[in-house]
């Protein structure tokens, strides 16, 4: 189930091994992104998520102003 989180919770989840996914276009991702974040742009998310992400670990998806 998807829930919104704040920065403190994100840091906890990263420390616990969560997968972090930036859904912005590659041009936004490449210059600067969160440590260890994968780039799955929204248009490719449905197609790639199943093969790239591990269902057993928490997944944090972010864009410019939302987690």
């Amino acid at each position: 189930m998807a829930t919104g989180i704040w920065l403190d919770r994100l840091r906890e989840l990263i420390d616990q091994g969560a997968q972090v996914v930036e859904v912005l276009p590659a041009d936004d991702y490449a210059p600067v992104h969160l440590p260890c974040a994968l780039n799955l742009p929204l248009r490719e998310l449905d197609e790639q998520a199943v093969t790239v992400l591990d269902r057993k670990r928490p997944i944090v998806v972010y864009c410019w102003d939302s987690l």
Partner: protein, 133 residues
């Protein structure tokens, strides 16, 4: 909820091709005089006179920026709480803003100092025009 903007605004670790680009968060200093709204003007003036800045910044207990207090406004009312004398809502910048952009805005608005805060308004530091060169 926060997002990438919030992460950058907290000056946290990042990866990518442009992580070495100079930002105001990397050149700012955190030695500006901070005071509470209830502090006496005379006490704050004394602190400002011992600092390299011609002003102090009024913050709440959690570090949220409330206003800017120029030293020159503190002489007339030494017993007043600085919260009553401060200029509310000074121009602020997020730490991930490029030094080029900040310098441009300072020039455009004829400001000498850039006050840097998080997206929630917590004071991080101050950079001068010289710091941005």
């Amino acid at each position: 909820m926060s997002g990438k903007v919030d992460w950058l605004a907290h000056n946290l670790e990042v990866e990518g091709a442009n992580t070495d680009a100079p930002t105001v968060g990397r050149v700012m200093r955190d030695d500006v005089v901070r005071c509470a709204p209830t502090d006496r003007a005379a006490d704050v003036r004394e602190s400002i006179e011992c600092s390299v800045y011609p002003f102090g910044l009024v913050t709440s207990e959690d570090g949220t920026l409330l206003g800017r207090i120029p030293a020159s406004t503190l002489y007339a009312s030494p017993e007043e709480p600085v919260g009553d004398l401060a200029e509310p809502g000074p121009k602020t910048f997020r730490p991930h803003t490029s030094v080029e952009k900040v310098a441009s805005v300072l020039t455009e608005k004829d400001l000498r100092w850039a006050i840097v805060t998080t997206a929630e308004g917590r004071l991080l530091g101050v950079a001068s025009r010289e710091d941005l060169e």
